[in-house]
Structures are given as structure tokens and as C-alpha cells.
């Protein structure tokens, strides 16, 4: 998943688009090492020292990882659980709508 997300971020870098993570790594040092190694450039909320049991994912009722939501520019949830190419398509559709002034 990370390679795909990395290329999506790269592909959309000049577009009104952001990939925001909610990261559930308990150990920040480990996160930093891996982020460097995998070229993770996007910003993430930290889910705290309880990892997948942290406050944000608890509130959002997250049961499986990864969990994906795609929001349009108005903050409306438009897609859930889209991964890989489907994620890219969803983002392209919403960017298209934005250009059309919807």
C-alpha cells in the first residue's frame, strides 16, 4: 500500500489534494526510520502510544487496518475503503468535480 500512496502523493503534488494519515505506530523512532526508508512524505496524525487502540481510531470505530475514507473539497465523505487504483480513480473524480465547479 505504501508504494501506491507514495506515487499518488507524487502524482497529485500540484493538485488541491492531500493524503492525511492516522498513524498507529507506537514507537516514534521506529516510525521515523521506516518513513525515511519507504519515502513516506505525507502528514499523519499520531494515534498515540496505544497504537491501533489509540484515541482517533477508537472514536472512528476503526476495526481493520488500513481503513480509508476519501473526502471531497467540502469535507464530505464520498468513498470508503478504496485501495490501489480505485483510490486514484476516486481522487481523480473528485478533483474533476472541483474543476467543474460542482
Amino acid at each position: 500500500m505504501i508504494p501506491h500512496e507514495r506515487s499518488l502523493v507524487e502524482q497529485m503534488k500540484d493538485k488541491p489534494f492531500a493524503l492525511i494519515g492516522i498513524n498507529s505506530d507506537k514507537d516514534k523512532a521506529y516510525f521515523h526510520t521506516k518513513a525515511k526508508e519507504m519515502g513516506v512524505t505525507w502528514r499523519s496524525f499520531w494515534n498515540g502510544p496505544r497504537g491501533t487502540g489509540g484515541p482517533i481510531s477508537s472514536k472512528w470505530g476503526v476495526r481493520g487496518w488500513p481503513t480509508i475514507y476519501v473526502l471531497d473539497h467540502k469535507g464530505v465523505i464520498r468513498f470508503k475503503g478504496v485501495r490501489g487504483e480505485k483510490m486514484t480513480e476516486a481522487v481523480e473524480q473528485l478533483l474533476g468535480e472541483m474543476e467543474d465547479g460542482k
Binding site: I22, S24, F45, I56, P66, H73
Partner: protein, 268 residues
Amino acid sequence: MLIGMRLITTCTAALLLPVLLGAQDGAKQQSAAQALYDKLSAELSKQTSAYREASKKITSSEAYKKARADKDREKLTELRSSLKRPDSKGLAKKAMAAAATFEGDGAVKLLGWAAINGGDANIVKTVVAQLQEKHMGSAAMIDILENGRVLSRPLGAEGADAFLSQVIEESPHDLAKAWAFYWKSVALTGRGANDDQKAKGAELAAQAEKLAGNHWLADKIRGPKFVAEKLQIGLVAPNIVGEDIDGVKFELEDYRGKVVVLDFWGFW
């Protein structure tokens, strides 16, 4: 005594030193126990990182790649045989030994460390027996109950249920009771639960939610309802206010005007 001293490794000696030097009053005891707790956590985390590093080195070696391509199981095992796994059980035993030198919350904290991090069923059983015998009133029980998932397998369904019932009866702390209700509910509503069990589970979860107050456990219990009511397609996503990995505060709403992929993820 001499023999005993020789058996104590340097690490244990370092861990026990603050105790031997004598922390008399309660607050001092607590902070000494906390210091040991932090030290054990740091040591485990250090060993875990070292293990990961060593493992990565081996799996990226040419010999390993070749053995994997050849599906040569024996060779793979041999190559990995030099790997030293984190000694969580050994550290847990140190935590148990140190716990014996404390009373009250300090002891409970260290016992909890051993049960949660030891990865060992016998340690969990021993810890829970000690808690049941003399620590049911301790506030430090809350941390252990938060990790209640690690208790259920070693204790078995009945043992875990008995422990949780005792917490509900004897603990003066609402949050400890809340966790006990919560884990009882989880145990009842697992895969294959019938309607009766589901109803009883929902009742227990409601009790847990009430007792949890503003604690995140209440959010956790409300999770499925939150998804059903707030996280449906077509609804404006609830805001998230938090900090990034570097501790910088930000909000989801900062990104209004952009298309956003929200991704709950991790490297683990």
C-alpha cells in the same frame, strides 16, 4: 548471599539498586517503581529494535534471498538461527522480582509490566493471582485492565471472567470497573455469539460506557454507533484535532478546499 549476589546479573543489579538504596515513603516508592517501569520499557524497546535491525540484515542478504528462491527451509532456519529475539520473558521476571520489593501501586505497576509485556502465560497467571490476593483496590490496576486482552488466553474464559467480576465487586475505581465490564462484553460478543449473548454483551458495554465517563474507553464503545451515524457517504466528515508525529498540532478541517484521502495506517 555471595552466591546470590553472583547470580544477579549486572542489569538486575542496576534495576534493583534504587530499591536497595531504600525508598521509604509512598510517593518515593511510586516514583522508584515508575523509574524501573520506564527502564524495563526502554530495555525491551531497545532489544526489539536490535532484533528488527538484525532480522532485516539477514533477510536482505544474498544467501537468504537465494535460500528463499530455492525454498530451502533448512537454510532459512539456519540463517535466522543467530537472531536473538527480545528477552521479554527475562525482563518480565525481573519486573516480578522488583515488584516483590514494593508495596501497593508500585508493586502493581511492575506486576502489570510483567503480565503485559512478558508474553508468557504462567507469568500472567502468577500476576493475576497476586492481584486477586492483595491489590484489587489499587488504582494501578487500571493500566493492567486496559490491556485486558492479554489476560484472557492464559486465564481461560472462566478464569478471566472470575477476575473481571472480582474487579467489578471490589475495585473502588470506576474506570477499573468500566474496563472489567467492557472485557466481559467483548468476551460475550465474539464470533458465533447468539442473540442472547449479544443482548447481554450490549448491556455490559452500556454499563462500561457509563462508568468510563470522559475516558477514551467510552469513545471506543461508541465507535460502531459513531460509524453508523457520522461516517456515512454523503455526510461531512467529523473534524479530527490532533498532533502529527513531530508533535505539531493540526486539524482535518485545515484541509478544507482540498480533496483528502484519510488513511488509517501504520508500519508495525
